[in-house]
Symmetry: C2
Subunit: 218 residues, 2 copies
């Protein structure tokens, strides 16, 4: 039973989106305070987290909502937050260690896909920013599919896109309930990329262990 | 008759927006071709110029419209164009030579304002990206004012914002009909920043000549 395709989650699997978000929010708040927002940093960070929680990360008016909380409307402060967020994002949007050499090696033997909850253009922008876009034969997003992981439909749509059977495909992701269980539910192999030391044969904590583990599956 | 305030145009006055746009469009087209857009570069550049001409530079769907011309709809190609444009923009968004030391010197004696045709948030984002935002006591945009330069209203709104009489203020810009005549129509002084050698006393071609010329006005 040869593996034919390897599918990846994007956020926190190909790059460290948790650190990116944390540092980008922190720097955007520092920049807004520098531009005249007279509030304690921890207060603003907490309020911003709540607004992003409420409206989702792709909402366009986070900073407008934030300033409204303080009875303000100031384009200089909003622009300072937006620019600091973008600059920090660009600084942290780098592939995790091992991603590039591993994809180069995997690409010799397997089709490569992404299965991601998010907006199609935004997820592609991340892959382009990471300079990983040329590796991917398929990118299926929840926006394009109309349903989110762990729903079976999104995994099946990705398999169909590359014309691969579930048992011939592997899903790699960081979220157990979303990526791993979702893939296993449709009969795919799944590898859990986690920060802790791996306990089971379908867990890895270094991206570069992928090649070794994939050989074991065959 | 002491000068109290100096107002600046933003695009092509504080930074070289013409080169920025040209190089950002060029790199976005190269990136789209790299991602699979199978069209000659000159064709795509010409088509993109026409779309931007038609919809304005703040339209959000330039690349979608562009691909439609070729019967395509491909998020990978659009994302490649968007990311290349943003990266190139950040590389070219630098103050023109002389801007920073001149503003530091001017700030000792004058209020500093901007009068700009454009969207308020976008123009502030440019000032923040240029790291010039802290110099400005006032930024008046056509979006905020409801009319564009050379209409007198936008110049009068900027003067009101800093509580300065027309005769005590100077406008600096690169467009004769828009910045210079517009300012003169309301009784402001005006200095024309142009690439060619200056012919008249109210023309400069180096930003740093501003201080010398302003002293002459007093």
């Amino acid at each position: 039973m040869p593996v034919k395709a390897v599918f990846f989650d994007i956020d926190n699997t190909l790059y460290d989106s948790a650190t990116l978000s944390k540092m980008a929010r922190r720097n955007s708040v520092l920049a807004m305070i520098d531009s005249g927002l007279d509030q304690p940093m921890e207060t603003v960070l907490g309020d911003l987290d709540q607004i992003i929680e409420k409206h989702g990360s792709n909402y366009r008016w986070h900073y407008d909502e934030l300033l409204k909380l303080y009875g303000m409307c100031d384009a200089k402060i909003i622009a300072s937050g937006v620019v600091a967020y973008e600059h920090t994002k660009n600084a942290y949007l780098k592939p995790l260690a091992g991603v590039v050499p591993t994809l180069i090696e995997l690409k010799k033997y397997y089709l490569i896909g992404a299965i991601s909850n998010g907006l199609t253009l935004k997820q592609w922008e991340k892959l382009v920013g990471l300079r990983l876009h040329h590796f991917f034969d398929s990118v299926v997003t929840s926006e394009g599919c109309g349903c989110e992981k762990p729903a079976s439909e999104i995994f099946l749509a990705a398999l169909t896109d590359l014309d691969v059977k579930p048992g011939d495909a592997v899903m790699v992701g960081d979220k157990y309930d979303v990526d791993i269980k979702g893939a296993q539910n449709v009969g795919m192999h799944a590898l859990w990329l986690r920060k802790e030391a791996p306990k089971n044969s379908n867990e890895i904590n270094r991206f570069s262990d992928l090649i070794k583990v994939l050989k074991g599956l065959e």
